[in-house]
């Protein structure tokens, strides 16, 4: 078994309105910043032990499917790195 950190990033599917991101973008513009668009995501860092990185990724994907993301509105991706 090795120690991994699986990072799950959950974002709204393209085309799904994100009012909080819009509000944040407007606030940045009020502060004088220029930007074309702003997207926000949720990032979950999962420390877990697994036989290899592939197994670690599978487990993290299972967690995203079952709870961390809502497939109706979200896409997600999983990135696994070895943990010291």
């Amino acid at each position: 078994m090795s120690a991994y950190t699986a990072t799950v990033t959950v974002r709204l599917k393209r085309g799904v309105l994100d009012p909080e991101a819009e509000t944040t973008k407007h606030a940045l513009e009020r502060l004088g910043f220029e930007l074309e668009a702003l997207r926000s995501t949720d990032r979950f860092e999962l420390d877990l032990d697994a036989a290899d990185a592939e197994r670690a990724a599978e487990r993290a994907e299972g967690m995203a499917e079952r709870l961390l993301a809502n497939p109706t509105i979200h896409d997600y991706d999983v990135d696994v790195t070895e943990r010291e």
Partner: protein, 223 residues
């Protein structure tokens, strides 16, 4: 007995019991950890902020053990009604399609809205006529109904939309849509019409003292 399921953070559970009693039904609050009583012949998933809306509104409650009981009961034909946070829980649990997410305004909205009855052939709407305009309160920050186009088309084809947000005359307009819901959808039924979710609160429009009784018809769906 109608079981009104109380999760940590439910806050419309007592209102629901009172409103159900007002239409002559026997209702009881059931703590979620106690499981669904075997004699429950109806289930209300009430409004509130279960688990502090952590992760997403309804996400945690939808995955709590009592929801397995609720799913089994629904499959056996026991009527299930999810209101507000209960609607969010119902969608998160897969009892109904789609998702309720952040209002287009990005604000919590507490106001009275008009709803048009889209299908009067369900237990929840048989007290009304198709096209009737009713007035219910809403109180939510995450009530925008989102659903992929193909799934919405399927819902509409199968006549599974219960209510749409409308103006006082029954016109479905963008202005009358309080939260940006796809197709102005305010409430739907699951694969079986005995399972329904809706963001507006019928139980807050069920006592004359509170200014209206339009919501009684929905609650009579349990009768």
């Amino acid at each position: 007995m109608i079981a009104v399921v109380r999760f940590g953070g439910s806050n419309c559970d007592r209102d629901a019991v009172r409103a159900l009693e007002a239409v002559g039904l026997d209702a009881e609050i059931v703590w979620h950890e106690d499981g669904l009583p075997a004699d429950a012949d109806g289930v209300v998933l009430p409004g509130g902020f279960s688990y502090g809306d952590y992760l997403r509104a309804g996400a945690m409650a939808a995955r709590s053990p009592i929801m397995d009981d609720v799913r089994d009961a629904a499959n056996d034909g026991v009527p299930v009604l999810g209101v507000c946070n209960g609607a969010q829980i119902g969608c998160e649990a897969g009892l109904t399609p789609g998702a309720f997410t952040t209002n287009a305004s990005a604000r919590f909205q507490c106001e009275h809205v008009h709803l048009r009855v889209e299908n009067a052939e369900t237990p929840w709407t048989r007290a009304y006529e198709e096209g009737d305009v009713v007035e219910f309160p809403i109180a939510h920050g995450e009530g925008r109904f989102e659903i992929p186009d193909a799934e919405l088309a399927e819902l509409e084809n199968d006549d599974r939309v219960l209510f749409r947000y409308c103006d006082a005359e029954g016109n479905i307009t963008e202005k009358a849509n309080p939260n940006g819901s796809t197709g102005n959808v305010a409430g739907i039924v699951g694969e079986s019409a005995t399972v329904a979710v809706m963001m507006p609160h019928p139980e807050r429009a069920a006592l004359p003292l509170l200014g209206g009784t339009d919501g009684q018809g929905v609650l009579e769906g349990f009768a």
